[in-house]
Symmetry: C2
Subunit: 268 residues, 2 copies
């Protein structure tokens, strides 16, 4: 089987202590620079590969500070504090000496406890009855995903505003790929900007800060395999250039795997 | 008028470039170390005071890496990248050379755009009809807040589990204080842990990562004055030592000022 674009994109080579090198190619192109999800996954991967890492990701915040051009970049991943079963990281991505992305991550060894899920998955028809979104350009991040909208799709040709910014979709990697933490991190950014959906129009827009809360353990991801996840996303408020987006991702059995919260720049 | 505990607590003295010194006193004591909200506000204040700062806070993520003891601490606040109207920060709080807290912040000069609010405030009786929570200890962070529960209060003596983790409350600083960004950041962490509410029991619990999304502009905060905010908080899922909490804060006219998302450690 051909190596997945995703594994190529997040591939890193260890340089000095705490330092990794990667190469940005065209496979996850977005409007300006790469799809934010692939950046989040690549930064997370630096921690996953780090010899001092303990546990699994619980939270990750990624701040998109400047555009990344095609070619080499470096990632510095520093374990800021390691306790018995928890670890805090600072991560900086640079290109030509300039900061492109900053991040923090929290990892932990999670033990058995009482548990409960309050946020249930929305109603949705089966993904088999829906048609995947086609990327508008041959080299565009959407080519790497199978996105099937249950509601709140993006149809700018119809120019018909939606009343609310809600979208519900099924999503998996394309071609199919076993779900893992970097894969889930990237999927956590796979919704189009809420302002596109609300207005059914393109406009200047881009995530400035993305926070991922990982509810799932590695075992749960393993069990998902490469099946579609059901996901919903909505804005709470758009005000003066920034709108938030809260998105949630469930497996087909209704387990909440990930909550994703972001602030998104827009001009409209 | 006596200086507010809050202004004493977030007070910082500039040392070297990018470096500030503060002193932790007992006024915002929590179970172990200070209330997380006061730490978030103090870290944000380092950026607010920084001579290179532009704009107002749009997002702030604070990671609680280790306990902070009473006494001096330092905060390093580094402008990682400054664009025309946006700025990205990394912030580290240390005590005796050890990392206690890490954070990232995104600031921006926000301009007039189209705007809309989708998340409406919940129904609630007036704060005048409710009794504020009394701190159980004389020197406890709750003494600095006026918290009035509409639903989902914490009554461990009754030992009656709630069916869900939802709380709705009115909150303002005590004594009254003009709302500003550090004040709002701190209020953003003013809910008790969701696991306390769900089970109506104390248990080991503490925020590990807190993300604040500021919807409000400085003008809106100015208009609020020192009035109560209405706030709601709920967990989506508790699983293997970690539960999330999404909280939202509205002014009395229903404007959404802040969304707050956190991952909270618990043992139960």
């Amino acid at each position: 089987m051909k190596k997945h674009n995703f594994d190529d994109a997040i591939h890193l080579r260890a340089l000095l202590k705490n330092e990794y090198q990667g190469v940005l190619t065209e496979s996850y192109n977005n409007m300006v620079g790469p799809f934010g999800g692939i950046t989040a996954a690549t930064l997370l991967n630096a921690v996953m590969l780090h010899p001092e890492r303990i546990g699994d990701p619980v939270s990750l915040t990624v701040n998109f500070a400047g555009p990344l051009a095609l070619g080499e970049f470096t990632i510095e991943a520093i374990p800021m504090r390691t306790n018995n079963s928890t670890q805090h990281w600072m991560i900086v991505q640079r290109q030509n000496g300039e900061v492109a992305t900053t991040a923090t991550a929290f990892f932990a060894i999670r033990k058995e406890t009482w548990g409960e899920q309050e946020l249930t998955m929305p109603e949705a028809v089966s993904p088999d009855t829906l048609i995947p979104v086609k990327p508008r350009l041959p080299s565009h991040w959407v080519q790497n995903y199978d996105l099937r909208f249950v509601e709140g799709a993006f149809n700018p040709k119809e120019k018909k505003e939606q009343e609310i910014s809600l979208s519900i979709m099924w999503v998996r990697e394309q071609p199919e790929r076993q779900l893992d933490f970097p894969g889930l991190a990237s999927i956590g950014d796979s919704f189009f900007p809420r302002m596109f959906i609300r207005h059914q129009e393109f406009m200047p827009a881009g995530t400035v800060s993305l926070t991922l809360h990982f509810h799932a353990t590695a075992d749960e991801l393993e069990k998902v395999g490469s099946a579609h996840l059901l996901a919903s996303a909505q804005a709470s408020r758009a005000n003066r250039n920034y709108a938030d987006q809260t998105a949630n991702f469930w497996d087909k059995d209704g387990n909440l795997l990930l909550s994703s919260h972001q602030m998104v720049y827009f001009k409209y």
